[in-house]
Amino acid sequence: MRGVYVAGVGMTNVGRHTNTSLRDLGGIAALKAIEEAGNERPEALVIGNMLSSLIEQENLASLIGDHIGLRGVSGFKVEGACGSGGVAIMTGYSLIASGLFNKVLVVGVEKLLERPPSDVIRGLAYAADADYELVHGVTFSGLNALVMRYYMGKHGIDYEEIAEWSVLMHRNGSRNPFAQLRNEITLEDVVRSPLIADPIRLYDSCPLSDGAAAVYLVSEKLRRVNDTPVTIVGIGNALDSTDLTSRPELDDLLASRVSADKALRMAKVRVEDIDVAEIHDAYTITAALSIESIGFAERGRAPRMWCEGRFSPGDKPTVNPSGGLKARGHPVGATGVYQLAEVVMQLRGDFPGVKVPAEIGLTQNIGGVGSNATTVVLKR
């Protein structure tokens, strides 16, 4: 298998993009990545997106490809719920590793906020099991709340210990110019925010977001296009059920755990060697489960560790210096691509927010309540 390198990245601010269309969002991020990669014309375009059907637009590779002058290149959209960006990266990686292409542009894009929130909440729940779960009206927050209450009871963890994650994420996000939520908050702000699905409060949840990010992947042959190329040394994806009920253990995110094992094994990197990670904290509980599944903490230990200052800037690993989904925001199908672009910038030393001196980085993007996860390991 051939090596795959990241020659350029691009992203838009995350937030409410009332006056920028889906094609413009994707185009802005894509053109920035192409520019960083020496204005080389890509041979293929892979789009990660979950819910463009909500705004009545599919066929995104043609829409965005044509918009930025790529008629004639290969292209398609891939989907893996909130993990669509990670799946798009895995696809782009495969297209190069297989030898089919030397230059692949991966764009994650999502634009949801032109729909009313109740439509978006219903749409996000499409990631769950329509026949057996959604028929009861459970939301995505509701499913995560079931896991959170179970986790708190099983491990004897207080709500406040988990909620402390949001305080840390807002602190990191306040320094990221691309982040949606740039205000610092206190634990009391989290605890006093309205319940959306007990025990999950508003401030335990990521915001609804629009945004786009892009990464330009190249083979060894094209490595010269950037003088500090970052290498993808390991990548792994894994599936789990869409339903929660058939899982043997509710707080074991199998897909997250297996995808991390695959990526670390492929990279020949130990989890202790990771300097910086961007993980999928759609809710505070998701942060705990992702951190534990990757192996940064033992099961049931992550919240105590972040309350003791672990995973903060200065620690190894520093987790979510971007502010994570919680503060950077969660433009669903774009999130996995944001994570990769952010870690690439950390390894190059040009991330414009909290900087982490790093040689080895990791990203983990999760779709559904852990039903599809992609982990990537990168080296400078």
Binding site: S118, I121, Y132, H136, G137, L146, L244, S246
Partner: protein, 135 residues
């Protein structure tokens, strides 16, 4: 009719015995395709629950909506719990299946589904609740 609707089918593996809901075509533990459908008991115990206060479109009239993860015999099911106040919900609470209306489908259908109610609030058959299944 109502008794048939209250059947909750899980898949049971004939090789290793593992039972899951929703039913699968192959065993999630040993991979065997030798699967039979079995009915789960109608009485169970709440393993976890939430109260959905920000509803999905179409579920406004059911909000606050109590959703529980319930152990039914060897398997678990996710469903709504009715006839109880949110503050009375508890992990470990005993519940029993009942048939109730849920939100309209996108094509305007009015589906009836299995929901659960506290075990002490009476038998599931012959309920006089206004939205129970018409007999």
């Amino acid at each position: 009719m109502k008794n048939v609707l209250l059947n909750i089918s899980a898949s049971k593996c004939l090789r290793c015995g593992y039972t899951v809901y929703p039913p699968k075509m192959r065993c999630i533990r040993c991979g065997s395709g030798e699967i039979v459908y079995v009915n789960l008991p109608r009485e169970g115990e709440v393993l976890s629950y939430t109260v959905v206060r920000a509803p999905a479109k179409g579920f406004e009239e059911f909000t606050p909506l109590i959703i529980a993860l319930i152990r039914l015999g060897e398997a678990r099911i996710l469903s709504e719990v009715v006839e109880v106040n949110p503050e009375e919900m508890k992990v470990g609470m005993k519940v029993v299946a009942t048939i109730r209306r849920t939100a309209r489908t996108i094509d305007g259908g009015l589906p009836y589904v299995v929901k659960f109610k506290p075990l002490e609030s009476g038998s599931e058959v012959g309920s006089n609740q206004p939205d129970s299944f018409p007999s």
